[in-house]
């Protein structure tokens, strides 16, 4: 099963019907299931064979090679045994229908199983010559035309320039020409590479993962390899009740009289929110997410501010760190979901994140504290030095809930890493976009329906608690960034 870029789950199936002693009928279908469980049963291909000695023996079916076709549907390949030989097939699905196209032809006639979708919408897969057992990497388009073939190679990552990186570490351009070699290790959602030992110390940079290459740029569709295509920046697809930044600021400042509880028997936590924005107005979502975290912390016996502190400038952020008592809270999972679920640190921030475009291809990771123009409204490499750990306990940690706050970009540090370096404390953040939901389970945001023209309808944000900022990736965990 995969979850394709159009948000539907696709489950291929094959079965045989044994109803007479003359022939046996075979059927290949595909279930297309939406998030509500509604489904279409797509008939892909039917074929018949004369019965054998045992007319009702369980037949052997081939592997179904199934991959997303961007956000338009799927492409699948399969193999049948007909007329005394293997026959290769390929189909493209759009909506609830499937169209047969010519199957890509690999050396020896073996089935080509799609593995990646390349930047230009073509596919790169694997094939094995049934006669010799030799393996090939095969690039082909959605019509089944083979573009190029590389022997003894397996595709791993599609790159944004239209090329691909093989399991050998050899990089190939869009024509299959070898262009270089890299040391390929396991790559994570952060874009960092890890050696087999798997320890954080084994992290190697720069990264090579090209998230923008396609909906399916790596084996399994994403760094988790769980067969799910992923969309980008989902929180910005959701609709919220917009909030007036000035009114919100006034309300929050009024409510901060009782900021930190005086009962400090347990660990102390400080919850911060950024402004909701103008063009990308998050409404009350940041505040509601902070209130949700506060309620959970209180239940666990910790002390936290029930009214989040609004930080509209870097000065606000710095003042909040030093002006709200001694912060001792570490990261404590709020639910049994552990680190896959919502977490709160001694200081937890809810707000917008992204990159500042400095021109000339230079981008710096930042927290966007306010929709006002000016560097003082963005926490970034140039002003992170204003933050102080004077009131942070040695075990205090920081959590940043903001889009891509934990995403290293090429050799550039994420804002999470920069804050960790400055405060000498561990910072937890997510390397992906965030969205808002009453269910904290990390998962890809899926459409809740379709408009008449087929465009997706995204979930509307609730205006009540509980509300969580949810990473847009199935099962993705917050990443710890250690000071260095």
């Amino acid at each position: 099963m995969i979850i394709a870029g159009d948000g539907y789950a696709y489950v291929p199936y094959q079965y045989a019907v044994c109803d007479d002693f003359i022939s046996q009928d075979f059927h290949l279908g595909l279930l297309r299931v939406d998030s509500g469980g509604a489904y279409n049963n797509i008939s892909v291909f039917d074929w018949s064979l004369p019965v054998g000695i045992n007319p009702c023996e369980i037949p052997q079916f081939s592997e179904i090679g199934l991959i997303t076709n961007a956000d338009q549907g799927t492409v699948l390949t399969w193999e049948t045994w007909e007329n005394g030989s293997n026959q290769e097939y390929m189909a493209v699905t759009t909506g609830a229908s499937a169209s047969l196209v010519s199957a890509p032809q690999a050396p020896g006639g073996g089935q080509v199983v799609p593995v990646l979708q390349a930047q230009d919408g073509s596919f790169v897969g694997t094939a094995q010559d049934p006669n010799t057992g030799n393996n090939y990497m095969v690039a082909f388009d959605a019509s089944g035309n083979v573009r190029w073939i590389v022997p003894n190679e397996t595709p791993q990552i599609a790159t944004a320039d239209g090329g691909v990186i093989g399991q050998s570490g050899i990089t190939y351009d869009q024509n299959g020409n070898a262009t270089g070699q890299i040391g390929l290790s396991t790559q994570t959602w952060t874009g960092n590479m890890y050696q087999e030992a798997g320890s954080l110390e084994a992290m190697a940079v720069p990264s090579v993962f090209e998230a923008g290459a396609s909906f399916w740029p790596t084996v399994g569709g994403n760094p988790s390899g769980n067969g799910t295509a992923f969309i980008q920046c989902p929180c910005l697809l959701q609709s919220t009740d917009t909030a007036d930044p000035d009114q919100l600021e006034s309300a929050l400042r009024d409510g901060q009289a009782a900021l930190m509880p005086q009962d400090q028997q347990g660990p102390t936590y400080l919850l911060l929110v950024g402004q909701p924005g103008i063009e990308y107005n998050a409404g009350q979502s940041f505040v509601l997410a902070a209130e949700t975290a506060s309620a959970a912390l209180t239940q666990s016996g910790a002390s936290s501010n029930s009214v989040p502190v609004l930080v509209s400038t870097v000065s606000d952020f710095a003042a909040a760190l030093t002006g709200n008592g001694f912060i001792t809270g570490g990261v404590t999972p709020l639910t049994t979901l552990g680190m896959n679920g919502p977490i709160a640190g001694g200081v937890t921030f809810f707000g917008h994140g992204g990159w500042l475009d400095l021109g000339g291809g230079v981008y710096d990771s930042a927290l966007f504290l306010s929709p006002t123009r000016g560097s003082v409204y963005n926490l970034w490499i140039q002003n992170v030095g204003q933050l102080s750990n004077a009131n942070l306990g040695t075990n205090a940690t920081i959590v940043l809930y903001a889009c891509n706050a934990g995403k290293n970009r090429n050799a550039g540090d994420s804002i999470a890493q920069l804050v960790a370096n400055q405060l000498r404390r561990t910072v937890w953040a997510y390397p992906v976009d965030m969205w808002y939901s009453a269910d904290p389970t990390p998962r890809i945001m899926l459409p809740v329906g379709r408009n008449a023209d087929g465009t997706p309808i995204w979930p509307k944000v609730k205006s009540t608690t509980p509300l969580y900022m949810v990473p847009n990736a199935n099962g993705v965990k917050a990443i710890p960034f250690y000071p260095h």
Partner: protein
């Protein structure tokens, strides 16, 4: 014809009576000038000679047109302007989906950023200068940044290039780019 002329006179007299004098043309504010640039840029203004002239007129030192690549974005919006002395700091934010390399018309991610990432372009100023008529006008300090087009404007541009090129490679690239842009839309 005469009736229409008479109506215009009545309207003008009425306006003068209401304001106590002739209506003067309003000088666009710094924010207006920047908004005008954002609108022209998002629709591909930098890619035509007429559009470039209009955009260049909004800048103190526009420089020369930059046709290395097009950044493809959503419509985005302006940041709240911030006065700094005699200047007004302005900026825009948008979601960047990718870039189209020119003249190859090849679509790819922007410098390793994930598509759909939120980007702030926040380092421009609008300053007061003396205009051609001797009055004070707001202009953006140059040079003009790289072209930032909405997805729809980018599709229109690529379609136009595709229709007018004889280069098979560019046509092929344009087809792929159009497919990618339509997915985003």
């Amino acid at each position: 014809m005469h009736g229409a002329f008479a109506l215009r006179i009545v309207t003008a007299v009425g306006l003068m009576a209401a304001t106590g004098g002739p209506a003067l043309p309003q000088v666009p504010s710094a924010e207006d000038v920047f908004a005008r640039f954002c609108e022209l840029d998002s629709q591909g203004g930098q890619l035509t000679s007429d559009g470039w002239q209009k955009i260049a007129a909004l800048f103190v030192n526009p420089g020369t047109p930059r046709h290395d690549r097009i950044i493809v974005t959503d419509r985005g919006g302006q940041l709240r302007p911030a006065p700094e002395g005699g200047k007004v700091g302005v900026g825009r934010e948008h979601l960047q989906y990718g870039q189209i390399d020119l003249p190859q018309i090849r679509f790819s991610a922007v410098d390793g950023l994930p598509p759909g990432a939120k980007i702030r372009e926040a380092f421009m100023y609008v300053v007061k200068v003396t205009g051609p008529g001797g009055g004070q006008e707001w202009r953006i300090e140059g040079p003009v940044p790289e072209p930032h087009l909405t997805v729809d404007a980018a599709i229109r541009y690529v379609n136009e290039i595709r229709a007018n090129t004889k280069d098979a490679t560019i046509r092929k690239n344009a087809d792929r780019t159009l497919a990618a842009l339509k997915h985003i839309r």
